[in-house]
């Protein structure tokens, strides 16, 4: 039997005991679901045209949402984490709001913003952009719920990394943009990557906002979670099989996140 080894100071036994209970609480429902999978039909169930369309759409939209999170989230994290201004604390809380909002609320809010009758809807339709019921709507819904993950993860890293290297670079004559690209972002790269992977994972699981805001149509807006919800109506076997696929993808994504974040951050800590 392998003994648990504490990396820094001993961990009380009772903490380990409670941690095990917590782990079981997370894993047991997933294991229970796996026992309900109809393995004989598994291949056929997950390779039906509607399942494949849903999986591909989910991967495509989640990637697009992650890219959008990166483009918007990195500047947001830099502003929140590296500047001081009046009302900054309030702004920081507001940015993280999608984390605590039920996704359905996010969907309703997006509808009233980008929908046909929404705040920007008439302007957008004059420009010929129709977001309702489109794949764009799915990406917007996913970005809305996933953005705080990237901002939060990067902002924390920016705070702990400090600004010593940036100050040195500035005294050596580097312009702010050069400092950002050449010093700041390389320093917090693991946090950027793990934040992006977390955003991707959140986008992949997005359900409520998509259903409310984008609708549900095969190949256009029906992502994997929506397909699972629909299949549950008629074919519980297919729903469970697809749920397992979603869990598998999520496990792979989390694995990647830890792999990209850990070695780099350890190396960085060692060098500081």
């Amino acid at each position: 039997m392998t003994r648990l080894r504490a990396t820094s100071g001993p961990v009380p036994r009772w903490v380990i005991a409670v941690a095990i209970v917590g782990g079981v609480f997370v894993l047991l429902p997933l294991a229970a679901m796996a026992t309900r999978v109809n393995w004989g039909q598994f291949g056929a169930l997950v390779s039906s045209p509607s399942s494949v369309a849903a999986l591909l759409l989910s991967l495509r939209t989640s990637l697009a949402a992650t890219a959008l999170c990166f483009v918007l989230g990195v500047p947001m994290a830099v502003v929140v984490g590296r500047t001081r201004f009046a009302g900054q604390r309030i702004l920081r809380s507001l940015v993280l709001l999608p984390l605590v909002l039920p996704p359905v609320v996010g969907g309703i809010a997006l509808l009233y913003t980008f929908g046909r009758q929404g705040l920007l809807g008439s302007t957008l339709s004059i420009l010929g952009v129709d977001i309702a019921f489109s794949t764009t709507a799915v990406v917007l819904a996913q970005t809305f719920v996933a953005l705080p993950f990237l901002v939060l993860s990067l902002e924390g890293a920016l705070r702990t990394a400090g600004t010593r290297y940036e100050e040195v670079a500035a005294t050596l004559g580097a312009r702010p943009t050069t400092v950002l690209w050449r010093v700041t972002l390389p320093l917090v790269l693991p946090a950027v990557l793990s934040g992006a992977v977390l955003s991707f994972a959140r986008a992949l699981g997005e359900f409520g906002a998509t259903l409310t805001f984008a609708g549900s149509l095969q190949g256009v807006t029906r992502t994997l979670p929506l397909e699972i919800y629909l299949q549950r109506e008629t074919d519980p076997d297919a729903a469970v099989a697809l749920a397992l696929v979603l869990v598998a993808v999520a496990v792979v994504v989390i694995g990647i996140a830890q792999r990209v974040a850990d070695p780099l951050s350890l190396r960085r800590q060692g060098s500081l």
Binding site: Q117, G215, S216
Partner: protein, 162 residues
Amino acid sequence: MGKLTHASLTGTPVNFATNRLEIAVPKGNPAKVRSFADLAKPAVKTVVCAAAVPCGAATLTLEQLTGVTIRPVSEETAVTDVLGKVRSGEADAGLVYVTDIRASNGSVDGVTFPESTRAVNAYPISVLKRSDNPRLASAFVAFVLGSDAQSLLSADGFGAPH
């Protein structure tokens, strides 16, 4: 109900009400939908139920019987989601039940169409064989089939059982 009777969990079910589809449109009917065939027009954004749920199955039956092919912008899992998308004005039309439009308190307008009588969904009722209180259950079934409950159902837009 089919699954329950197939598994011999109930007695012979009796229909207590029926429902048929009606077109829900936003107030004022901006896309000027007048008939079932209008739903197939590309300019009309139509939302329907997914074929996996009963209102979607009825929609599919009507499409097959009439030869009208609707290209929906969304296939919702619940009839209330169809109604929601029409109410918010995101969709120009949605296929919902007569009773949904009746229950919407005027937040949407309804467009009836004669073809709707060709796909009628029936609601069966039956006492479970393993009921803890079969007498009470039978009394409830009798109440639902009785004239008081039937007039309530009829007031909400449900059709008479056939």
